[in-house]
Amino acid sequence: MTNSGTILSLTDVTKSFRGVMAVCSVSLDVRESEILGVIGPNGAGKTTLFNLISGFLSPDKGTIFFEGHSLAGLKPNRICRLGLSRTFQIVKPFGHLSVLENVAVGAFNRAACAAEAEEKAWSVLKFIGLDHKALSPAFSLTTPDRKRLELGRALACSPRLLLLDEVMAGLNPREKENVSELVRNIRASGVAVLIIEHAMRVIMGLSDRICVLNYGQCIATGDTASVCSDPKVITAYIGEGMNPGKSPC
């Protein structure tokens, strides 16, 4: 099913909620160690797409293959163990556990024993720059730190593909730049990243390729420059009849 170099492959994936087409026949490939940005107006179906890939929803139609395995009917925990982890748009820290324990929960996926999981958790915390707060309870973290923790937890599962759902929402420009740097480093370590983001400037600078969703359909896929000049994308973002020369990015 997958070509060499393709890590995730969606074919004709469709999901509707009582007649509302949330995701409509989307086909998409994610290549090994690339950063693929998913953008689109509110309600375009981005998060639904993530829920379909990570197993929280099952598609009405279409197939999803991850490294040659069909993900049909697999529960989220099985998909995570295959090497595909995700973060949530609304962060879900385990508030009463320490930051270290939060990350260790992810690390236990691959670790044979508690000592190994803890070692992995420490190295992830150093990588995301949260090791100085390791022993604080997660509920005491600030919003930017919670976003980092969300990312660190997913990273601790040692994924081959990471789905990031708006990890930068609510951060100031400097914090956004920090997280972008983090995502680049993650990719540099050989992990492919599929990222949803609203902040155009950030995602255009970060992604190798962009996929634009609108009303559940993938209206354009390609490198950032070609997507930005695509008339369909401009129409989706700015509306018809506007100056067609004006690009959203």
Partner: protein, 335 residues
């Protein structure tokens, strides 16, 4: 502060300093002297420890794994009846009946857990399912002639027969419970830092996030149920051997579910010491109110109700939560 990764072996779960271990060891050793010094206190201490162990059982499922049960009397009853029936009908020693009772309760628990958690039942719905199953067992045993029906089972007293788990003296029960309580505390405390304990807590805090991090939430909730049921059944067996009489109303009745769960709720659900702390406060209080209002049966239940309202309103994390908050403030003041 030096690199925290280097200064101690593990930071998962809670650690205790050498001094704390010493103090705990001294208290544990000192408690062995109680039957010699104050024999009149033994009965109360036995009841405190019995309910602390069963409360710990409830705590594993509801406090740690976050699946609130309103029917733990079910496991109490299954435990008490399994060992007693084996002894009365087949003459099997309760020492053998004890593991059988724990297995039986775990099996019943696993069945209920699979039925409910398979469909993601949680919160009040799961609590009600547990209540319903406890009542089903209550009513079924009431009309089960072989097991004595509503009249209950009288366990024949054979005198002091250690091999038959029978003692005319109360002290052996006291020592047994003391060791079992220490073992249960140690087990749950260790569990906090294990994969299983962390997974339980992750499921309690946020099940979706737990699933996304590779936790088989159904499997781990079932494990929590099995451990919880077995620990509660252990209490049931000892209760039966201690009082030598059980009937459906004193085992399966909802009152017992309330008795079991109220202790960890007041002491602090999801903490190692919560059930013991709650039991230390609640067990003597219930004895006192019961003897003070003898002529008005049920007053102590009103008292429990009032206490529960106060705790839920002002101490949602129980007394342990209060202590932790105080400790945090004091640390902040110093730092």
């Amino acid at each position: 502060m030096a690199d925290p990764a280097a200064d101690a072996k593990t930071h998962l779960g809670r650690r205790l300093s050498g001094r704390t271990w010493l103090i705990l060891g001294v208290i544990f050793a000192g408690l062995h002297a109680v039957p010699g010094i104050a024999p009149e206190m033994i009965h109360n201490l036995i009841m405190i420890m019995l309910f602390a162990i069963m409360g710990q059982g409830w705590n594993v499922l509801s406090g740690y794994a976050g699946q609130f049960s309103f029917g733990h009397s079910l496991f109490f009853g299954v435990g008490a009846y399994t060992s007693s029936l084996l002894f009365v009908k087949l003459g099997i020693s309760p020492w053998i009946g004890l593991p059988c009772a724990m297995l039986a309760a775990a099996a019943v628990g696993l069945m209920i857990a699979y039925l409910s958690f398979r469909y993601g039942l949680s919160g009040p719905f799961f609590a009600l399912i547990m209540l319903a199953f406890a009542e089903i067992f209550h009513i079924s045993v009431m009309s089960w002639k072989y097991a004595g029906g509503a009249g209950g089972l009288l366990i024949p007293l054979k005198g002091t027969a250690p091999l038959l788990f029978q003692f005319t003296d109360k002290a052996p029960f006291y020592f047994l419970l003391l060791w079992l309580l220490a073992a249960s505390l140690l087990l749950v405390w260790k569990m906090e830092g294990w994969r299983m304990g962390l997974y339980f807590q992750a499921i309690r805090e946020n099940e979706d996030a737990a699933e996304a991090l590779g936790i088989d939430s159904l499997g781990f909730k079932m494990r929590a149920m099995a451990i919880s049921a077995a620990m509660t059944a252990l209490g049931g067996v000892i209760y039966a051997q201690y009082l030598l009489f059980i009937d459906p109303d004193s085992t399966f009745a909802t009152v017992n579910s309330v008795e079991i769960m109220l202790r960890p709720i007041i002491g602090g659900p999801g903490t190692v010491l919560g059930p013991l702390l709650g039991s230390l406060i609640l067990t003597p209080l219930s004895e006192i109110t019961r003897s003070a209002f003898q002529s008005y049966s049920g007053v102590y239940m009103m008292f429990y109700g009032g206490m529960l309202v106060v705790v839920v309103l002002f101490l949602p994390d129980g007394l342990m939560g209060l202590f932790r908050r105080i400790a945090r403030y004091r640390k902040k003041d110093r730092g």
